[in-house]
C-alpha cells in the first residue's frame, strides 16, 4: 500500500495536532506563533503536493493526479492568504486565539481530501471535516450575535445539505453497487442508460455539492453567513471551500457520472443560469459590502459552472482558470474590506467608502483594480477568466449560456463600477485608519497578480489544461 500518496494531508494533519499541543502548552499568548507555524505548514504541504507522484492509494479511496495537484495548490494559496488577513483583524476584535489557525488548517486537510477523493465515502468525510471546521470558525466571534446567528444558519442548512448528499450517495450505492469512482464509471457505462433511481441519487448528490459552492437554488445561506461571520472567515469561506467544492463537482460529474452527462448537463445548465442571473440582479440593491460580495460570489460560481455545463475539456480548463482568477480577486477585495476601519471600528457600508480616492488613494486604486477585474474589463485577470469559459460554451454550441452570461456580466459591471464611482467621485467621508502592513501586502500581491495576469497566464493555462485532461483522459 503506497501510503505516501497522501503525504501532504498526513503531514498537514500531524502538524495541526502539533500546533494545537503547542498552543495549549505555551505559557503566553500563542496566537502569533501558531499563525506563523500554520503558514509554515501550508508551505511545506504545498511542496509535498508538488513532489507527490501520480497514483492512487488506500484501496482506491484516494487519488493524486494533475487535477488534484492544481486545485490543492490553489486551496493552500487561498487559505494562506485568508490566514494572513486574519492576524490584525482578530487581534482588533479580541478573538485572536490559537485555535483559529488550527481550525483553518483542519478545514484545509478536509478540502485536500475532497479534491483527491476517488470514492464517495472519502468525498463525504472530507466534506464533513471541512464543514465542521467552517461552522466553528464562523461562530468564532462568539460574543457577537451576528456571528453566532450566521454559524447557526450555516450549520442547520449545511447539515441538511449533508443529509441530501448522503441520501443521494446511498441511492447511488444501492443502484450501482459501489461507491468507488472507478467502479461506478464502469457500472454506469452499461448500455440501456441509467435507472430512474440512479438519476434521483445523482440529483441528490448534485444538490449536496451545489450547496457547497452556494449556487442557486442552494444559495440562501450565503449572504447571511458572509455578513455575519468575522471578515477573515468570510474571506476563507469565499475562496478555498468554493474551489474545493467546485473541484469536487467537476471530478464527480465528469469521472464516475461522466457517462450520464446527458442526464445532468441540463441540471448544471439551469443552476449556472440561475446563479448568474440572481448574482447579477440581487446584488444591485445591496448597501453592505460583505453582502454584496456574497451575491457576487453566487454569480461567479454561475460563470464557473458554465465550464462544467459545456462538458468539454476546454470547458473544464476554463472553469479551473476562472477559479484561480476568482480566488485572487476575492482575497484582494476582502483585503480592502478588512482595511475599512475608522477609529478602530469596523464599517461595512459601501457609502462609508465615499471619496476614498482622496483620503487613501492607494487603497482606492487597489479596490478599483479588483472591481474592474470582477466586472470583466480587459486586460485584468477577470476578463480572461470569463473569456475562457464563454469561449468553451460557444465552442460547445451552448449559445444560451454564453449570451446570458455576457448579459449578466454587463449588469454586474453596473454595481461593481458604482462602487468605483462612490470612491472616486463622491464627497469624501472621514479618513480611514492606517492599514496594517500585512493587509497592504496581501492587497498589493493579489493586485499585481490581477493586473499582470495577462503576462504570465501561459503556465497557469497550461497547468489547467493538464488538469482538465486528467478528467477527460
Amino acid at each position: 500500500m503506497n501510503w505516501q500518496i497522501a503525504l501532504p494531508e498526513i503531514v498537514l494533519a500531524l502538524s495541526g495536532m502539533a500546533i494545537l499541543l503547542f498552543g495549549v502548552l505555551y505559557r503566553r499568548d500563542a496566537s502569533v506563533p501558531c499563525n506563523m507555524l500554520t503558514l509554515g505548514a501550508f508551505l511545506v504541504a504545498a511542496f509535498l503536493v508538488l513532489s507527490t507522484p501520480d497514483g492512487s492509494g488506500y484501496g482506491d479511496l484516494f487519488v493524486v493526479d494533475a487535477f488534484s495537484r492544481f486545485v490543492k495548490i490553489l486551496i493552500l494559496a487561498g487559505a494562506a492568504l485568508a490566514l494572513m488577513l486574519s492576524f490584525d483583524y482578530n487581534r482588533h476584535e479580541g478573538i485572536a486565539r490559537f485555535e483559529f489557525p488550527v481550525l483553518i488548517l483542519f478545514a484545509v486537510v478536509g478540502m485536500m481530501t475532497m479534491v483527491s477523493a476517488a470514492n464517495l465515502m472519502t468525498l463525504y468525510l472530507g466534506l464533513e471535516l471541512q464543514l465542521i471546521s467552517l461552522y466553528v470558525v464562523t461562530a468564532f466571534n462568539r460574543t457577537a450575535i451576528r456571528s453566532s446567528e450566521a454559524a447557526l444558519k450555516y450549520f442547520v442548512l449545511g447539515a441538511l445539505a449533508s443529509g441530501l448528499l448522503l441520501y443521494g450517495i446511498s441511492l447511488v450505492y444501492g443502484f450501482a453497487g459501489s461507491t468507488s469512482f472507478a467502479a461506478l464509471a464502469s457500472a454506469l457505462n452499461a448500455p440501456g442508460g441509467a435507472s430512474p433511481g440512479l438519476v434521483v441519487g445523482i440529483v441528490f448528490v448534485i444538490a449536496g455539492l451545489v450547496f457547497e459552492v452556494s449556487a442557486v437554488p442552494f444559495h440562501m445561506w450565503t449572504p447571511d453567513v458572509y455578513e455575519g461571520a468575522p471578515t477573515p472567515v468570510t474571506v476563507f469561506i469565499g475562496t478555498a471551500p468554493k474551489v474545493a467544492g467546485m473541484a469536487l463537482l467537476l471530478r464527480t460529474l465528469s469521472t464516475p457520472f461522466g457517462h450520464l452527462s446527458l442526464d445532468w448537463r441540463l441540471l448544471i445548465e439551469l443552476v449556472s443560469l440561475g446563479s448568474m442571473i440572481l448574482g447579477a440582479l440581487a446584488a444591485i440593491g445591496q448597501t453592505n459590502f460583505k453582502r454584496l460580495m456574497a451575491y457576487s460570489a453566487i454569480g461567479h460560481m454561475g460563470y464557473t459552472l458554465i465550464g462544467l455545463a459545456a462538458g468539454t475539456e476546454a470547458g473544464l480548463r476554463g472553469a479551473l482558470i476562472y477559479l484561480v482568477v476568482y480566488v485572487f480577486m476575492n482575497v484582494g477585495i476582502f483585503a480592502g474590506i478588512i482595511a475599512m476601519r475608522r477609529h478602530g471600528r469596523v464599517f461595512e457600508q459601501i457609502s462609508d467608502l465615499a471619496g476614498l480616492a482622496r483620503t487613501d488613494p492607494a487603497l482606492a486604486l487597489a479596490f478599483a483594480v479588483f472591481l474592474f477585474s470582477m466586472a470583466g474589463i480587459p486586460p485584468l485577470a477577470g476578463f480572461f477568466g470569463k473569456l475562457y469559459v464563454f469561449l468553451a460554451a460557444v465552442q460547445a454550441g451552448m449559445w444560451t449560456l454564453a449570451i446570458i452570461g455576457v448579459l449578466t456580466s454587463v449588469v454586474g459591471a453596473y454595481y461593481y463600477i458604482r462602487i468605483v464611482k462612490v470612491m472616486f467621485m463622491d464627497a469624501p467621508a472621514p479618513a480611514i485608519d492606517q492599514r496594517p502592513a500585512m493587509v497592504s501586502f496581501v492587497a498589493a500581491a493579489t493586485g499585481l497578480f490581477t493586473v499582470f495576469f495577462v503576462l504570465f497566464s501561459a503556465p497557469i493555462v497550461a497547468a489547467a489544461q493538464a488538469a482538465a485532461q486528467v478528467l477527460f483522459g
Partner: protein, 230 residues
Amino acid sequence: MIATIGFYVFAVILLASATMVVTARNPVHSVLFLILAFFNAAALFLIAGAEFLAMILIIVYVGAVAVLFLFVVMMLDVNFAELREGVQRYAPVGLVVGLILLFELGLVLTGWHFAPSAAEIRMSPTPTALSNTAALGNVLYTRYIFLFQLAGLILLVAMIGAIVLTHRERGTARRQRIGRQNARQPEETLAMLNVALGAGIDEIGILRPLPDPAPVGAESHALPHAAEPH
C-alpha cells in the same frame, strides 16, 4: 425451529417497545423502552449470526447512549408535553408531504434494477474463513484505515470547536497549587488537644473557628488558605 420462534418473539417485543418509545407519556418510560428495544435488536443480531454487532449494540447503545439519554431526560427541565403540542398542529401537513414523498419514492423503486456489473464489483463479500470480529476489524482498520483516521480528525475538530465556543476562563476558578500544598506545615493545620471524657465537641470548642469572612466564597471553605482570593 427454536430460532424461528425466538425471532418472532424478539421481533414482536422489539416492535412493541419501539412503539412505546414514541407514544409513552413519561419520557423516562420512553428511555427505558428504548433500552428494551436495543436488547431485542441485539438478540435479533445474535440470531442472524452477527455476534459482534450484538455485543457492540449493547455496549455502545445501552451502555453509553441510553444512559446519556436518561441523564438528559432527568437532569434537564424539558417540557415534553409542550414539545408535543406542535406535532398535532403540523401532523396533517406533514402527513400529506410524507405521502407524496412515499408515492414518489415508490415510483423510483419500481424502476429498480441492478447495474449488470454490480454483482462483480460488490466490495464486501461475506467472509468465509474469518470470524465476524476479525472481518469487521479488517474492513475498519485495514481496508478503510484512511476513512477511519479521517473520521477521527472530524471528532477532534468537533472537540476543539466545542471547547473554543464554550470554554471561558473564570477568575473564580480554584486551581491546585502544588507548591503551596507541599510547603504546608503541620502546625498550620493541626492542633493537639486534651479532650475530657464525656465532653461533646461543642463544649470544649474543638471545632476550629471559621476564617474571617472574606469577600468571595469564604463561607464554604474552612481551610485558611482556600479562602484567599486567587
